[in-house]
Subunit: 332 residues, 2 copies
Amino acid sequence: MRIAVDSMGGDRAPVVVVEGAVSALRETGDDLEVILVGREADVRSALGSAQDLSGRLRIVDAPDVVAMDEPPAATLRKKKQSSIAVGLRMQKEGAADGFISAGNTGAVAANAIFILGRIEGVSRPAIATFAPTRRGPCIILDVGANVENRPLHLLQFGVMGSCYAQVALRKREPRVGLLNVGEERSKGGDLLTEAYDLLEAAGLNFIGNVEGRDIFRGDVDVVVCDGFVGNVILKFTESVVDMFYAVMKEELTRNVRAKLGAAMLKPAFRKLRATFDYAEYGGAPLLGVDGACMICHGSSSAVAIKNAILATRRFIKYDVNSAIVERLGRHE
Amino acid sequence: MRIAVDSMGGDRAPVVVVEGAVSALRETGDDLEVILVGREADVRSALGSAQDLSGRLRIVDAPDVVAMDEPPAATLRKKKQSSIAVGLRMQKEGAADGFISAGNTGAVAANAIFILGRIEGVSRPAIATFAPTRRGPCIILDVGANVENRPLHLLQFGVMGSCYAQVALRKREPRVGLLNVGEERSKGGDLLTEAYDLLEAAGLNFIGNVEGRDIFRGDVDVVVCDGFVGNVILKFTESVVDMFYAVMKEELTRNVRAKLGAAMLKPAFRKLRATFDYAEYGGAPLLGVDGACMICHGSSSAVAIKNAILATRRFIKYDVNSAIVERLGRHE
């Protein structure tokens, strides 16, 4: 299995990305090959002495670099030799089986939809991310900032999310919920009431409307929402957790007593951080494209990159896309 | 100034509500009078020995009780003698100057709009709540679960939020931001781009689109969003904070070392809790109704009720509604 890795994407690329790729190779057997896509000189220098993996590690040059804040649509025309475009084209042409990037999310999504195309029956691809709950992670989609979703899109998000959760959460019948402002099926306006009806009739393990408390309590495996709401809450949740750490850090270094207490609690805090650090769970797939495209947070650590590579491998190995095609076919 | 308090609303009513009302009276001078509205026998028993405030404390009987999960619209027809309806009618008839409730939010909003009516120029009233930031609270509106907002509604939310922030945050020119999925003015679809144009032209201190990180960093005073998104993020933020405490509690009691560390950090944790406990900041006004109607969280403590009474007093004293009428008039 060959996974192309965007070596120029992410706040600390290429060093951290290359480091993550190397650890993924070290943790796996001969069945994994990584293709580092990026400016060859930069990638080679980041790779340093890790050349002993050369049999399973290749560098493919991509002279263009997409900035984190570049308008996605423009990159399609102007950056045809970016690490994003080159890596995705390799997959399209059969030279790679999957692609991961911690770069500009919008640009990765736009390029993936343009280059790989959508799989049969999918109207709109969606980004599915993990969120922490009291009982392990759940999946939320779409968080891709798409606006003006229709009920059919939300149905498809439910189907795609359910297929993905079977692999990513190892649940046989993932519980699918519709994010809303109340339990009653009449809540949320036309978009949501129509989506409710479609999801209910789709043969999924649909549990109805869900709210924040249901999610964090771990009562649902797949949370369906439109891409605007999903993106807003993703950023909100990240920010509130960051703020929590910031305030905590301030308080825990305020005086000697606090510093002593904090030192004693180091293991507890490490555990706390691990619960909320869902960037570490392994990237967010762009579901619905005809291929495997995993999107990582810009601030991904080497561990996050490694986990994303391993998650992409599972995504391909268990053929999530065929499951989606098969399930969507049933609803036609 | 006479404030009617829904003594039957809230998870621990009437005891906690009455306790909050009594402390509000003890903290203020003769200019405040509280009217406890509810089932007379229950209220009287909750009041216990605090009868010495009798000159400034009255009980008004309201035989009906609205349950926390009762459908709001039905309460308008079926619960005409509820503490909510009776308290609001007193205000409408001039027997009270404001009303607060920790009861069923939807029922309070529906009754307030029905009984008090909307103020001149407001198409849709909105609930404005506080959110914590690194630099003191900001205000988010609408969080009232209204769906299908139009650009004009968002403009009015911005105007109402700004007028309220002048009083509640004591800011002369509150910074108003539009919650969106990116900074660029083209983001978020037609609703948001049109709302952006209207807000920009409204003579407010409009700073453009904002996201989670801007909010928690304290870069904005008034965050405008539609009622669906606002309600979802409010519940999400509450839940993530609750989950944080729950995981922390688990970790901090895991062994003797953790318990010792936790004991040393008690003051730090108290400070942390205070930062996030925005229920304590004093309730969420329903802006745009022709009166003063403050909505509190169902789980409000006596301190939260007291703070809400004091916030309602400021709301009335500084005549937020006249400021809204005046400002909206300028845009016609």
